[in-house]
């Protein structure tokens, strides 16, 4: 059986790739994909610890996280749609009217 630390390393790598995407991408769709990567890194952790303890709570909770990610994407794409209508582009740096 694969030791848990390998899953945690994979999860950390996926999370950091997502973080890099959030910090560098200006296209809102890529931004959303990067956030999804970070959420899936959390899912890997949940499932790894579920395997470690022989308890299904982690896997069940990962299902809930997937559902919440779907809800987040639905709202996120709606926001991107409004962004495109108002600014003619989906560059997240264009929407600066609420910036302090």
């Amino acid at each position: 059986m694969v030791p848990v630390e390998y899953y945690l390393l994979l999860s950390s790598a996926v999370f950091c790739i997502g973080l890099y995407g959030v910090l560098t991408r200006r296209n809102a769709l890529y931004f959303l994909m990067s956030v999804e990567l970070m959420l899936n890194a959390a899912n890997i952790n949940l499932i790894a610890f579920s395997l470690m303890w022989g308890n299904l709570t982690g896997q069940t909770f990962a299902l809930f996280t997937i559902a919440l990610a779907a809800a987040e994407v639905a709202v996120g794409i709606g926001i991107i749609l409004v962004l495109y209508r108002n600014f003619g582009d989906i560059d997240v740096m264009d929407a600066a009217t609420m910036r302090w």
């Binding site: 059986m1 694969v2 030791p3 848990v4 630390e5 945690l8 390393l9 950390s12 790598a13 999370f15 950091c16 790739i17 973080l19 890099y20 910090l23 560098t24 395997l51 470690m52 303890w53 022989g54 308890n55 299904l56 709570t57 896997q59 069940t60 909770f61 299902l63 809930f64 559902a67 919440l68 779907a70 809800a71 987040e72 639905a74 709202v75 794409i77 709606g78 926001i79 749609l81 409004v82 209508r85």
Partner: protein
């Protein structure tokens, strides 16, 4: 915040991500000895069945798990709210009138009818429907 201050606090995102991974990997590997050997699940255990029991808090599963019926219902409400939000954000209004919401193929609503059908095209004198 001025441009000079922004550039002063700006860091390389790639370096930040790699540094974070380094810190996380260091912590994980240094504490790896403390992790027990994965217990896993019994070979004859029906994992999906047990997850189903957990979702509805039935309590007849063979693998240890908590009940999640309340969470299941709350997530259902959250998904419903997200669906409504997406529809609200996607609709287009002009002078307080919805001009496009949930129409097929991006067709616009003309006088309460979906543009692009033969009837509405004849009434509105349109050559074609759609956003193009």
């Amino acid at each position: 915040m001025s441009d000079s201050e922004e550039s002063a606090v700006a860091i390389n995102p790639g370096a930040a991500a790699v540094a974070l991974f380094g810190v996380l990997a260091g912590i994980i590997l240094s504490s790896a000895a403390g992790f027990p050997t994965p217990a896993g699940f019994p070979a004859d255990a029906a994992i999906v069945t047990n997850i189903g029991y957990a979702l509805f808090d039935i309590g007849e599963g063979t693998v240890p798990v908590e009940g999640f019926l309340a969470t299941f219902l709350i997530i259902g409400i959250a998904l419903d709210v997200a669906l409504d939000s997406a529809v609200y954000l996607a609709k287009r209004e002009d002078d307080g009138t919805i001009i496009s919401a949930l129409t097929g193929g991006g067709n616009e609503v003309v006088d309460g009818e979906v543009a692009g059908t033969a009837d509405t095209e004849a009434e509105a004198g349109l050559d074609h429907g759609g956003d193009d």
